[in-house]
């Protein structure tokens, strides 16, 4: 168990393809950190650099106080679970799990004991004599995890380990993985493109886009105070809506111009907007903080229903206002269908403010 840090790490594949740009991150000993981002954002590359499966173009990766840049994977004392499990097809489940122990010349009796223990923990102890092709996806994935936990490594690396499982099994595995990591207390880096996985499992989330670390914070921080408009729209489901607004004044008070509407701003946010002094803003609102109704009310904005999606307990209504589309959650009794005029309401204290030019959040 060890702290891990990236210091000014770059990964350049050549030909203008830069996968990771100047990554700086300190991961504490025993922490569960999730690398979150869309495909091609550099999160897997970062993980593979940690594992030693990719060279580092510049910068350094440090485990504890040891720079591991030039250490091959076998000398880094890591365990990794791959997206496609990467089990040895010709070996039994027992031999798959035992492989890391065999490599470090552990005595046969000890191997037997530890493999059985790991298999019991993962509930695959009755499958030890089978081969990977006889197993279901979930069982294969448990085997891959078993191979990782059977040896007490310094660092766990997970590369989208449950991305290929069905939704129900995925939900269950999230809980089990989190429990496992907590019990073992091993520093864990978990790559995923699923923001729900990151939010539910990680102690801290590192959101990446286009090779750049966008924000590194606790799930609550990332959700409540996104660093920029990109993070704001990537984290949270259903997605936050963004509207283009301009800062204006109404009877001497700071207000927002949205199309032909002028929206009043609460005192706290109006101080914040005044201090920032920006004019063009991207204003975000999460769907559960916006309400939609067929009846006009005080301060409501008129639009048209663009789409209506049933979420189960409620419906997600997309409202088209000018060239913006705003998502709002409504009761299932909401009667609007596509094209129906409707009225949107939100409180200014629930809004997120970003600079329209660079997308950065307006400081609090």
């Amino acid at each position: 168990m060890v702290a891990v840090s990236f210091n000014n790490v770059w990964k350049d594949y050549g030909g203008g393809a830069i996968a990771v740009k100047d990554l700086n991150m300190e991961i504490k000993d025993g922490e569960f950190v999730s690398l979150l981002g869309p495909s091609g954002c550099g999160k897997s590359t970062s993980l593979r650099m940690l594992a030693g499966l990719e060279h580092i173009s510049s910068g350094e990766i440090v485990f504890g106080d040891k720079v591991v840049n030039d250490l091959p994977p076998k000398d880094r004392d890591i365990a990794m679970v791959f997206e496609n499990y990467a089990l040895y097809p010709h070996k039994t489940i027992f031999d798959n799990i035992a492989n890391p122990l065999k490599q470090s010349k552990v005595a046969a009796a000890e191997i037997e004991r530890r493999v059985t223990e790991a298999a019991k923990l993962l509930e695959i102890d009755q499958l030890l004599e089978r081969r990977p092709q006889e197993l279901s996806g979930g069982q294969k994935q448990r085997t891959a995890i078993g191979r990782a936990i059977v040896r007490q490594p310094q660092v766990f690396l997970f590369d989208e380990p449950i991305a290929h499982l069905d939704a129900k099994l995925r939900a269950r595995m999230r809980g089990e993985l989190k429990h496992l990591q907590f019990t073992l207390g091993v520093t864990t880096i978990y790559v995923t493109h699923d923001q729900l996985e990151a939010l539910t499992m990680a102690d801290r989330i590192a959101v990446m886009n286009d090779g750049v670390l966008q924000q590194f914070g606790t799930p609550q921080e990332v959700y409540d105070n996104p660093a920029n408009s990109w993070v704001a729209t990537f984290v949270g489901e259903p997605q936050m809506s963004l509207m283009e607004m301009q800062v204006t004044s109404l009877e001497g008070e700071t207000a927002l111009a949205f199309g032909s509407y002028t929206i009043e701003v609460d005192p706290k946010n109006s101080a914040r907007l005044r201090a920032a002094g920006k004019k063009d803003l991207l204003v975000g609102v999460r769907p559960d903080k916006a309400t939609v109704s067929l009846d006009e009310s005080l301060g409501s904005i008129r639009g048209e229903v663009y789409s209506r999606q049933l979420l189960g307990a409620d419906v997600l209504v997309e409202v088209e206002i000018g060239k913006s589309r705003v998502r709002a959650k409504a009761n299932t009794s909401f009667a609007g269908t596509v094209g129906t005029p409707c009225y949107l309401n939100f409180g200014s204290e629930d809004l997120y403010f970003f600079d329209a030019k660079d997308g950065q959040v307006i400081p609090q």
Binding site: A51, L53, K74, M80, F82, N84, Y88, P89, P100, Q133
Partner: protein
């Protein structure tokens, strides 16, 4: 899984003709390919008088004369006692198995590296490797002979093994590269994370390409076993193989048909089971990884 039901449509005249023509063609083809083997076998068991007794032209009932003989093993015995075919058989075995083992050992390592690494000029290198196989051997045999002679390899078994390897190795590299390409790289990465070095990871995945390796050991043996040109020129003298030795049974003053037929059988027989074996392996090997699992 896709349905295995055979769907039949209305057939045209051509299809109907083909339906009748194909068994006829196959019968003809079977006779064409098996008859020489059969004649060889029967002739090798006859003494010289029986071998040349043929019925008069037009006397179809006299065909039985072909089978009217008392089998004798004298030609076989003579081959091994008078002509030293024991040595030639040994040479053939050592040269072909030796070159096959060398070609597949180095070929698999080379194929693995070519499969796993990316570098500038990789395609050119691959083409160069296979181009050594494209050139007719006759074109290089003279310089090769000169080289082999200057290092005293002519007429020795190591020389012959080396010569056979020149054509087996490029073939092995190309074919085995295909097998390695079919093995997911993640398996080796997992092995490395498990604590293995690159070479150990390579050894870990070898069982996955075993059908391919098995098939190419056999193919390389077949190629080397059947080779005539290298065998007569590089191997002449001290490392004579079966085909070269058989050729020497044809003397200007006397063609010893009985022995030639027996030598043919001795040369062919060990390769028939290998041929059947390779068929099974090759199908397993070549279709490996054809469908994404």
């Amino acid at each position: 899984m896709a349905s295995r039901e055979l769907i039949s449509y209305d057939k045209g005249v051509a299809v109907k003709v083909l339906k009748w023509a194909s068994p006829i063609f196959l019968t003809f083809y079977l006779v064409w390919s098996l008859l020489p083997l059969f004649i060889m076998l029967v002739a090798s068991l006859k003494d010289l008088l029986d071998a040349f007794s043929v019925p008069k032209p037009g006397d179809w009932a006299g065909v039985t004369i072909f089978f009217d003989f008392s089998p004798t093993l004298t030609h076989y015995v003579a081959l091994f006692t008078e002509n030293g075919f024991g040595t030639y058989l040994f040479n053939s075995l050592v040269a072909s198995i030796g070159s096959a083992v060398i070609a597949v050992t180095f070929g698999s390592m080379c194929a693995y590296s070519l499969s796993r690494s990316e570098f500038r000029g990789k395609k050119d290198l691959l083409f160069w490797i296979i181009s050594t196989r494209m050139a007719p051997i006759v074109a290089v045999i003279v310089p090769l002979y000169a080289i082999f002679r200057s290092v005293d390899l002519v007429g020795t078994l190591p020389g012959l093994i080396l010569a056979f390897t020149t054509f087996n190795l490029p073939f092995a590299i190309w074919m085995l590269k295909g097998f390695f390409d079919g093995v997911p790289y993640a398996i080796e990465e997992a092995a490395q994370v498990d604590g293995q070095n690159r070479f150990q990871a390579f050894v870990t995945i070898l069982p996955l390409v075993a059908p391919g390796i098995g098939a190419f050991v056999i193919l390389c043996i077949l190629f080397a076993w059947n080779d005539f040109l290298f065998a007569t020129i590089i191997g002449s003298g001290g490392a004579k193989t079966l085909p070269a030795a058989t050729k020497e049974l044809v003397q200007p003053q006397n063609i010893d048909w009985g022995k030639i037929m027996a030598a043919g059988i001795v040369t062919t027989a060990p390769m028939i089971p290998l041929g059947l074996l390779v068929r099974r392996y090759l199908v397993a090997g070549l279709t490996m990884g054809a469908v994404k699992e």
